[in-house]
């Protein structure tokens, strides 16, 4: 299957650099989590990959062939974004029919099942739907098109907890029935942590993490205990952030190429506890402002 790669991708809006030297490879049949704070450039990156907007410079390669210019068409990629690109006056049924026409195929069986489960009436017009239902419908269409790469930008925007759980189930089901690459971009990290295989973290216009979820979690540590013990143990280690609650001092670490794991020869003080942290915590520590003081 085909890989989608970017080389030295840069996007500027006026003088503001939104994406800076993005080099990444999206592999077939993988579920990615694209994480980043507000304004990090997630939506811009996905829009560029889907050719909805163009990059200021850099190359996008599809199966190692550069996609040049603004006018390449690539139906193998489908981007479901926050924006509504459907004709607002159209009924859901009509939108699905038109999508099938332009895409050449459409999984109507899955669409009907999802519409029924989410209690969406196909005769409704898209502009009559609430934000949550509009998101659900856009995601339904994205799961039913024959694209090999499906980008879901904020697929749970405005969804209640029940609908979110149901949607995650359908994403997994769609993946199991026809493996393809999904890129999920969302702020509700703890919920997608069980879904994704690979993590991409965008921060300050750059990709700072591009690794398997397992590796990311393996590299993430929380070291807690009395301040002097923790500081002594963490000497020269890549500390992301520190916090003190009462007498408990905690350092957050993300081991890197210098320290791929904690030094085995270093004795762990009795009162110091070391454990791995979850994806959301390490994301916050990696991207919070002022972390440079600690790194």
């Amino acid at each position: 299957m085909t890989e989608l790669t970017t080389e030295h991708l840069i996007k500027q809006f006026g003088n503001r650099v939104v994406l800076d030297d993005i080099n990444l490879t999206l592999k077939p049949n993988t579920i990615y989590g694209l994480l980043g704070r507000n304004g990090a450039g997630k939506s811009t990156l996905l829009s560029i990959l889907a050719n909805q907007i163009s990059a200021s410079s850099g190359t996008i390669k599809w199966n190692k062939t550069p996609l040049t210019g603004r006018d390449h068409s690539l139906q193998a990629i489908y981007l479901m974004s926050e924006q509504n690109l459907f004709n607002k006056e159209n009924r859901l049924k009509k939108i699905m029919k038109d999508t099938a026409l332009l895409q050449g195929a459409f999984n109507q069986t899955l669409a009907d099942k999802m519409l029924a489960d989410f209690e969406l009436n196909p005769k409704q017009k898209i502009n009559q739907l609430s934000t949550g239902y509009r998101t659900i419908f856009k995601t339904i269409v994205a799961l039913c098109v024959p694209a090999d790469y499906v980008f879901l930008d904020e697929p749970i925007l405005g969804l209640d907890a029940n609908h979110r759980v149901l949607l995650y189930r359908y994403i997994l089901e769609a993946y199991e029935n026809r493996p393809r690459t999904f890129v999920l971009s969302t702020h509700i990290i703890e919920e997608i942590a069980n879904l994704i295989e690979h993590v991409l973290i965008l921060d300050q216009s750059r990709i700072i993490i591009d690794d398997d979820l397992e590796t990311v979690l393996d590299h993430s540590y929380q070291i807690s205990g009395p301040k002097e013990d923790v500081l002594a143990y963490c000497q020269e280690l890549p500390i992301l952030a520190s916090e003190q609650i009462g007498t408990l001092y905690t350092n957050y670490l993300y081991t890197n190429y210098l320290y791929t794991e904690l030094p085995a020869d270093r004795v762990i003080p009795d009162r110091v506890a070391i454990k791995h942290v979850d994806l959301q915590t390490i994301f916050i520590k990696l991207t919070e402002k002022g972390r440079e003081q600690h790194v």
Partner: protein
């Protein structure tokens, strides 16, 4: 991909045209029945319906040229349709539909009018028909150009550019054109038309054969389409469209 996009656009156009024709037929029939109750004949009704068909379809297509740029472009882009395919299908669907509807309704309308015109005007004159088709195309091209332009620049800047455009046009007419005329006197001959009280057909022929006509076709039909193509080439989704910055 091209065929699918063309079918998508044509379906929308012809659905609108058929609805407009149905409404127009009801209104025309009702008007005929009420207004000419005594002199009502089937022939007059059919004549009215055909004339209405010509007027309604041409007006509908002109309106669609203004309204169908953005939603169809965005839906195409969402489904991986290239900008070039989007644009070409836009032109083919609108201009093609205009040709078909014109050819469907014009001959019958012309025949009806021909039987009522006493002078020697030939409404089937190819020059005259050509001018009428090009005339509608020019309006459609302007519609495509304006809607593409507004979609690209959003609401914030397009009126500034259009104002600038009008000002430049006025300046050209008042200051540049007289200078060109004084430097190149033959320019006036090329752009002037002399009908010498000719009939409509002769006048149509004079128009079509004159350089002025082709200059007009270029500036009023080809040029707007070129502008629309450039706009659609750079067109993006609505939030990311070029905007007039407040600080600018």
């Amino acid at each position: 991909m091209f065929k699918a996009m063309l079918r998508y656009r044509l379906t929308a156009i012809w659905k609108t045209l058929l609805i407009a024709l149905a409404i127009g037929a009801v209104v025309t029939t009702a008007s005929e029945l009420i207004l000419s109750a005594k002199g009502f004949t089937l022939g007059i009704l059919i004549g009215s319906l055909i004339t209405m068909g010509l007027v309604v379809t041409q007006l509908c297509l002109i309106t669609l040229s203004f309204t169908m740029t953005r939603p169809y472009f965005e839906f195409g882009i969402l489904n991986g349709i290239s900008r070039k395919t989007n644009y070409v299908t836009h032109l083919v669907s609108l201009l093609g539909s205009q040709l078909v509807t014109f050819m469907l309704f014009y001959p019958a309308t012309a025949a009806i009018f021909q039987s009522h015109i006493e002078d020697n005007t030939n409404l089937f004159d190819p020059y005259l028909m050509f001018i009428m088709i090009i005339g509608t195309w020019i309006v459609i091209a302007s519609g495509i150009e304006i809607s593409s332009f507004i979609t690209l620049f959003e609401r914030k800047i397009w009126w500034i550019v259009i104002t600038l455009w009008v000002v430049l046009d006025i300046l050209f007419e008042h200051y540049v054109h007289p200078v060109i005329n004084s430097i190149l006197p033959t320019w006036t001959k090329l752009t002037g038309l002399n009908f010498n009280s000719a009939s409509i057909m002769t006048a149509a022929k004079v128009v079509v054969m004159s350089p002025y006509f082709w200059l007009t076709v270029f500036t009023s039909f080809i040029f707007p389409l070129l502008v629309a193509w450039v706009c659609q080439y750079f067109m993006q989704t609505k939030k990311i469209a070029l905007k007039w910055r407040r600080s600018a």
